[in-house]
Amino acid sequence: MEEYFDSTYIWESIPALLPYLKMTFFVAGLSVLFGSLLGLILAIMKLGENKVFQNIAHGYTTVLRCTPSIVLLFLIYYGVPAIAMNFGVNLNDMSSVFFVVITFTLQFGALMSEVIRSAYESIDRGQYEAAVSVGLSNMQAYRRIIFPQAFVVALPNFGNALLELMKEGALAYTIGLIDVMGKANLIIASNYNSHALEIYIGLSIIYWVLSIIIEQFFLKLERVFSKGNKGLKAA
């Protein structure tokens, strides 16, 4: 085994990979931004009274949950330009980042719609009633009382979804986008596929550390925002 395993490859791969985290962050950042918005809209549809909207939102979530990411990516990567072409827009020159972001946005939106919905439903209706009973308007009640509390409930799940997203790099690589995962593949290819194990170990170290940082960050965030709920949880 020593014949093949050479740990220097691990340590050399890490600095080579790190710069490509930028791309990972860039894609994840945009997807989180748009995906959360989409999730919010879907969650509102699910929570609303309108049966048609409800069904659309639920159906959307089911289909997206059941679609392997790679398939979704190809559908978007080739489907969206084809559709745009019908409207006379040429998207073939669009950077692949664009399509990866759309794919992740659609997926993240489906995930977030459930996160937001369950967070909202976890807030006791009494909070809303108390808010309007002291003379707040609907919007004020949501903004000042419901959302801040639902936000705290949603945080850990949001963190989880974010982690999942960061790990989807392999997907982006299939259409040529080079993030950390893609860079690892390129390094391996440039070594003619030798020492892939070491490179992947280096990659997994990066991911692992990153995930721990994100996890800790979200724990902190949760602690900061849940200041009011501390006692409740202990009781």
């Binding site: 006791d124 009494g126 909070q127 009633e129 108390a130 808010a131 309007v132 009973s133 002291v134 003379g135 707040l136 308007s137 004020q140 000042r144 009382i145 801040p148 509390q149 705290v152 200041k227 009011g228 709920n229 501390k230 006692g231 409740l232 949880k233 202990a234 009781a235």
Partner: protein, 251 residues
């Protein structure tokens, strides 16, 4: 000051309020009694539009509102004249005691923060929570939480405060605290409509007791009369069940 006329409310097939009329004068303390499921909570909630009645009128001083068809504006204006104290307190979990009290003043009534804080602190002082301004609900005992709830209602300076079983989620020992506070504010002349099972409160503080069952008012009267000589058979049965056997005859 508040008059309710002919409230009807059903949930599906379940007729919960079946034509209730109620007249409350300024300074009245009216206690509503009744078995579980008789619609007491629903009555209070309809008055405050937390539930939309199927039919009925509310007359607040000079303004008359249709309980079914009230506009948003009318609803806000009535909510401004009422306050609600919930059985489960329903304090804003993400706000301190003081913020709980001032939230409605600053955001709902557009007061400045200073004004609101002054009023809020006074209200908290009144319910004996001088030192808990900055505590979050989770850090308070049930009795303390409910007192914040009362302070929140009082500080709005409403025409009437609606109480829905304000002590029933409390440990027996803590009940005393809250009833004491309620007595105090009642004595200051606050108009109150109180759903409660605390007979001693009804007896000591109320000037009228209403007994509801099956969505209608079965009997009403001043407390002494009500407890000592209940006229209706249904009322007698109820009182027998909720009072220690000998208590009723000893008042």
């Amino acid at each position: 000051m508040l008059e309710i006329k002919n409230i009807h409310k059903s949930f599906g097939d379940n007729i919960v309020l079946n034509g209730i009329d109620l007249k409350i004068e300024k300074g009245d303390v009216v206690v509503v009694l009744g078995p579980s499921g008789s619609g007491k909570t629903t009555l209070l909630r309809c008055i405050n539009f937390l539930e939309k009645a199927d039919q009925g009128q509310a007359i607040f001083g000079d303004t008359q509102v249709d309980l079914k068809k009230a506009s948003k504006k009318q609803i806000y204006s009535i909510r401004k004249r009422t306050a609600f104290v919930f059985q489960n307190y329903n304090l804003f979990n993400n706000k301190t005691a003081l913020e709980n009290v001032t939230e409605g003043l600053i955001i709902g009534r557009k007061m400045t923060k200073e004004e609101a804080n002054k009023i809020g602190k006074d209200a908290l002082d009144k319910v004996g929570l001088f030192e808990k301004y900055d505590a979050y609900p989770g850090e308070l005992s049930g009795g303390q939480q409910q007192r914040v709830g009362i302070a929140r209602a009082v500080s709005l300076n409403p025409d009437i405060i609606l109480f829905d079983e304000p002590t029933s989620a409390l440990d027996p020992e803590l009940v005393g605290e809250v009833l004491e506070v309620m007595k105090t504010i009642a004595k200051e002349g606050t108009t109150m409509l109180v759903v409660t099972h605390e007979m001693s409160f009804a007896k000591d503080v109320a000037n009228r007791v209403i007994f509801m069952d099956g969505g209608v008012i079965v009997e009403e009267g001043p407390p002494n009369e009500f407890f000592q000589h209940p006229k209706e058979e249904r009322t007698q049965r109820f009182l027998k069940r909720v009072l220690p056997e000998d208590y009723i005859y000893n008042i």
